[in-house]
Amino acid sequence: MEERVTTRAHIQAPVSRRTALKVGGGLVASAAIGSPSIVRAASDDIMIGHLTPMTGFLGALGEWAVLGIQMAAEEINAAGGVMGRKLDVKSEDSINPNTAATKAQRMLERDEKAFLMGEISSASALAISQVAARNKKMFMALGPRSDTLRGKNCNRYMFCTDIPNTVMVNAVGNALLRDGMVKGKKFHTLTADYVFGHDLLRAAKSFFAANDATLSGDDLVATDVTDFSPYLLKIRQSQPDVVCLNLAGNQVTNFVKQYAEYGLPFPTVGFNLNTADAWAAGPGNLSGTWPTVWYHTLQTPASMAFVEAFQKRYGKLPENHAWIEYVALKLVAQAMEETKSTDSEKLIQHFEKGAKFDIMKGREAYFRSWDHQLVQEAYPFSVKDAGSAKDQWDLMTLGTAVPGANQPLEAIYPTSEQNPCTL
């Protein structure tokens, strides 16, 4: 016998194990690559590039972002557009900082977008802001909360609309101080291992240092972690008084579900929570006090009207990213009307002059001229007791706005001494 024929070698194309592994690995890795939009708008439209994560650990938030900004665009266009021109907002998945930068570049150079908006990831926002600055076009970062975007990495072309980490820490911190949960207490922190988490940890640590609290544990958590059990064991081993969470996106939901599963006795506080993460946790899993930029139970006429319109349009309650994207496009549209221009330079000057905007809260908001962040009220909100929630969306009780009515809005923001931004 000259040739030994075994298995199915004779009926299969010869492919080495190595090739099979390479292709397999490559396909798994390439799952994240999206495709650019190829639809062109009518030339008279005001074209705005919108980047936001629609996949990955922030993907669930990005979906809300798209709903919010598109609803604002629809309403503005239905009311006659801006300066008689229609708004054309194209939303694309930003995926990761690299892809976000590439897409931003294409949007500004080839697609001739007037300016860019969006993003939730602080890392991707940083990448986009550098592209925007190079092209001298405005980038309005809507969801990112990292202090460094408004501080060390601030630039003249970037504006930030969400509350920064320092404000979130202050909003919850005040509630914790009131409840005697800080002074002399030991904290174990879990922190998302990217620019946002590191930044939030820094803000948390300076809050602890200022209020006589110590750390019994301090762990970084990769953004794609789904199983927290080794971290839960470490928490138990360090025996903290309070567990402090600086997590992001799906991490928050995964953690709270597994924390409830393991039934650890230590109270938790979190310095970052989005309503979508809370909703995803399911009843009975979430506990503690958290900060928020906006919640759908906010009792102002404009906010209540928005919630009603959103429900009518999409059949569900708006999440805080839907809200921020909605108000951000509205305020940009207002600025374009007021300046009669879509030019980035003119818009920047207008914002820097301290133009005020109604963002459906008790007080009007404005951009600080020297660090380009939107100064606004924030809120603590706490989880309702089991049984008192009307339905799965009715999880939280919104606290009163901070700072209090007698204090200036900037009281909860970093001062110019604390914030190293130079534009």
Binding site: T6, T7, R8, A9, I11, Q12, A13, V15, S16, R17, A20, L21, V23, G24, G25, L27, V28, A31, M54, T55, G56, G59, A60, E63, W64, D193, D219, L220, V221, A222, D224, V225, T226, D227, S229, P230, Y231, L233, K234, R236, Q237, N250, T253, N254, K257, Q258, A260, E261, Y262, G263, L264, A276, W279, A280, A281, G282, P283, G284, N285, Q392
Partner: protein, 291 residues
């Protein structure tokens, strides 16, 4: 004290490894019989989670966990009959491409039906909480999960090693032509194995739904781990996959104990090291078609 902490992480890693096993073993089984690396395995896992969350609204948690794998397993029949079957004898790259495409179709289908926002899912309060044995803390739910995995594992092992069904399957893995020459049609055996594999993935999804985020891309998260486990264990090897799953769980736990930030990277480093010394994985057999 440090040693006790480490031991606790080790035991916890074994528990987690048991869970990885549920997903990876199905992937490995389907590969063994059909020669196709099923990249759509994660989609069945996600579907298992979604279907169980949906059914649990009507019949409660435990029945939902039992019914969901059966329903998704039935879908496995269609998957095998209409798609997978055509790729057993084709270039393996075609099999990878078609299952990869199917994974995307699966994820988008979930997005269309249930929306992009995660689905809330909880377990009965009865199953929540810890079990403390000596110095060790376990999650009550995960111990239960481990028991389920053990039953499934023993069942699959028994089926493959001790029954006439298993003998035909094992012969088919070794030499399908000889089995055909003996007058045995392999097709129904293939279908059964795929249904089992897919059902195990769905069971994994249903069991993990109460403790992890149920979202459309959850399949893509797990398929990477499962793929790593199968590669470390050796493509197609039953005990290799068992050893690899436990090893990955333990290495991850120990790494997180010392360098928390490197927890997810540890399994890839492990894969790298093992493939350096054993290119076929821990217990991978020499397979003619891949040489």
């Amino acid at each position: 004290m440090q040693l006790v902490f480490l031991l606790e992480q080790l035991v916890n890693g074994l528990v987690l490894g048991g869970y990885y096993l549920l997903i990876a073993l199905g992937l490995s089984l389907i590969f063994s019989v059909g020669g196709v690396v099923n990249l759509a395995h994660g989609a069945f896992y996600a579907l298992g989670a979604y279907v169980s969350v949906e059914i649990a609204k009507y019949v409660g948690f435990a029945p939902a966990v039992a019914i969901s794998p059966v329903l998704v397993g039935l879908l496995g029949i269609l998957f095998e009959r209409f798609i997978l079957k055509r790729f057993y004898t084709a270039d393996p790259i075609l099999g990878l491409l078609v299952t990869f495409g199917l994974a995307m179709v699966g994820e988008e289908t979930i997005r269309i039906i249930w929306g992009a926002a995660p689905q809330p899912a909880s377990m009965p309060a009865l199953l929540k909480g810890p079990v403390i044995v000596g110095d060790f803390l376990f999650s009550k739910y995960r111990l239960l999960l481990l028991a389920v995995v053990a039953v499934v594992l023993v069942g699959i092992w028994y089926l493959l090693q001790k029954t006439s069904f298993g003998r035909v399957v094992r012969a088919g893995i070794q030499d399908p032509d000889m089995v055909a020459a003996l007058g045995i049609r392999l097709q129904p055996y293939m279908t059964t194995i795929v249904v089992l594999g897919v059902g195990m993935a769905a069971l994994g999804g249903a069991l993990f739904a109460p403790i992890a985020v149920v979202h459309p891309a959850m399949g893509a998260e797990i398929i990477t781990v499962a793929f790593v486990v199968v590669v470390i264990g050796g493509l197609g090897s039953f005990w290799g996959v068992v050893a690899a799953a436990l090893l990955v769980g333990v290495v991850r736990g120990i790494t997180i104990h010392f360098v928390p930030a490197a927890g997810e990277a540890s399994m890839y480093v492990l894969m790298f090291l093992i493939l350096m010394f054993r290119p076929r994985g821990l217990l991978g057999e020499r397979m003619e078609k891949f040489e």
